[in-house]
């Protein structure tokens, strides 16, 4: 009798790749370990391969068999904003954060972990293990992050990362996979799940912390989000390649949306004036209040959109949608920073 798989019985492991699309390995054997585990609420990896349909007429309306085209892969992973729990220790999602931000974090031991922006495209190998172990197990290699979205102000703050990957390797095709899909592995069979996964930290309540808009702390903040779009892709038009080419990156675009209660305070009025005048402001969203479990999102040189008023509830809201960050100077790469402290 065959076995089914319960969707809750899934684990994600993520490893930074030293070389794009090469699964971390020693002598062809994957170096995957329990220490690479990261809790998540959703992991989706997919590979597609379109049929190249011959356009020539046959004198019939029937479709003739085409050829297999290029192989494209995508991934997305969603997880609670769980820091490590100990200040100055990287969160389990560190490889994803480094992948979206473009460089490794700076660790200030015992104090904080800081993620700044850069122009690089670090890649990761994402492992998708499910129970029972006899069901198809997969990994996405050469995965780069193109988008991330962070929740602000909700009960369980979450982040979702997504992007393209070079290939998907799995237990079904391992024996016959080509060298690109094998990503440098030469071991006899697909790696098995580590026996002792290690995961750390608990997301802070997303409605606790400090919201600072243009230097003023606001207790009237409701909810919001930060969208990071770094426009990375694996170009799918390389000659003699069924797979994507090495990562290409476009314009970085970091923007925040949020809703807050409207009031007649002088500080909020001044903020609205800046929105109309196009005066850039700095914004800090701090989630959490306990050292080791605090996220600080710093958005610099934010051009505020025009305030929109929402009368759908009992109390009037004012919303700012698409508040975009900017580098201080060309090449400063300081438009956005994440600190876990």
């Amino acid at each position: 009798m065959s076995n089914f798989s319960n969707t809750r019985m899934q684990r994600l492991y993520v490893q930074p790749e030293a070389t794009w699309a090469v699964i971390p390995n020693t002598g062809g054997t994957a170096t995957l370990a329990g220490s690479n585990c990261c809790r998540m609420s959703s992991l989706v990896i997919n590979q597609t391969q379109q049929e190249i349909v011959r356009s020539d007429k046959t004198g019939s309306l029937g479709l003739t068999m085409g050829l297999l085209g290029r192989r494209a892969a995508t991934w997305s992973a969603k997880m609670s904003l769980a820091p490590n729990g100990a200040a100055g220790v990287k969160p389990d999602m560190d490889p994803f954060l480094a992948a979206i931000m473009g460089k490794l974090a700076v660790v200030n031991t015992g104090v904080s972990v800081v993620y700044g922006l850069d122009d690089n495209s670090p890649s990761v190998t994402i492992w998708d293990f499910n129970t029972p172990g006899t069901i198809t197990q997969r990994c996405a290699l050469g995965a780069v992050a193109s988008k991330a979205k962070f929740d602000i102000g909700v009960d369980e703050p979450q982040v979702e990362f997504s992007g393209p990957a070079e290939a998907i390797l799995d237990t079904d095709v391992y024996a016959t996979a080509d060298t690109v899909s094998k990503g440098g592995l030469t071991q006899a069979s697909f790696p098995t799940e580590p026996t002792t996964p290690v995961t750390n930290g608990v997301a802070p309540p997303g409605f606790t912390g400090v919201i600072t808009l243009d230097g003023q702390a606001y207790a009237t903040f409701r909810t919001g989000s930060i969208s990071v779009d770094v426009d990375r892709e694996l170009p799918m038009d390389g000659f003699n390649s069924y797979y994507g080419l090495a990562p290409a990156a476009g314009l970085r675009n970091v923007a925040a949306d949020w809703s807050m209660y409207d009031d007649d305070s002088a500080v909020l009025s001044a903020l609205k004036v800046k929105a109309y005048a196009g005066t850039p402001v700095n914004i800090t969203f701090q989630i959490g209040t306990v050292a080791g479990s605090i996220w600080v999102f710093l958005l610099k040189n934010v051009l505020l959109p025009k305030p929109q008023y929402d009368l759908s509830g009992k109390r009037r809201f004012v919303t700012f949608n698409g508040a975009r960050t900017h580098d201080t100077t060309i090449g400063a790469k300081d438009a956005f920073q994440i600190t876990v402290q």
């Binding site: 329990g34 220790v89 995961t199 930290g201 050292a291």
Partner: protein, 106 residues
């Protein structure tokens, strides 16, 4: 080997759940190395005891959520423990074994 936990919550495999500051846990060397490399903030029991946390403080501040109310003295000791844990992690990352990384007696 006996270790003490310094974080908010860590799961090591299916059976070990650490969620109290200063929680004592027995781990084999491979288990401990895997946990520490996986970001689990642990220090060896000997070092933890040397730092000198008061028993009442460990009871009072067992939950990391309560550390916002802790005394400066407790927080300084916590930071010292975290620095030791980080140093231990770095030594393991550089390829040392846990036995080699253990503090030497006088």
């Amino acid at each position: 080997m006996t270790f003490r936990f310094l974080g908010s919550e860590s799961l090591v495999g299916d059976s070990i759940r650490l969620n109290r500051f200063g929680q004592s846990v027995e781990l084999t060397e491979p288990q401990a190395a895997n946990a520490i490399l996986g970001g689990c903030p642990l220090v060896d029991d000997e070092t933890f005891c040397q730092i000198g946390f008061a028993k009442e403080d460990l009871k009072k501040f067992a939950s990391s959520g309560s550390h916002g109310r802790a005394s400066v003295e407790f927080l300084e000791k916590k930071k010292a423990a975290l620095l030791t844990a980080q140093a231990l992690r770095e030594r393991l990352e550089s390829g040392e074994t846990l036995t080699a990384a253990e503090p030497k007696g006088e």
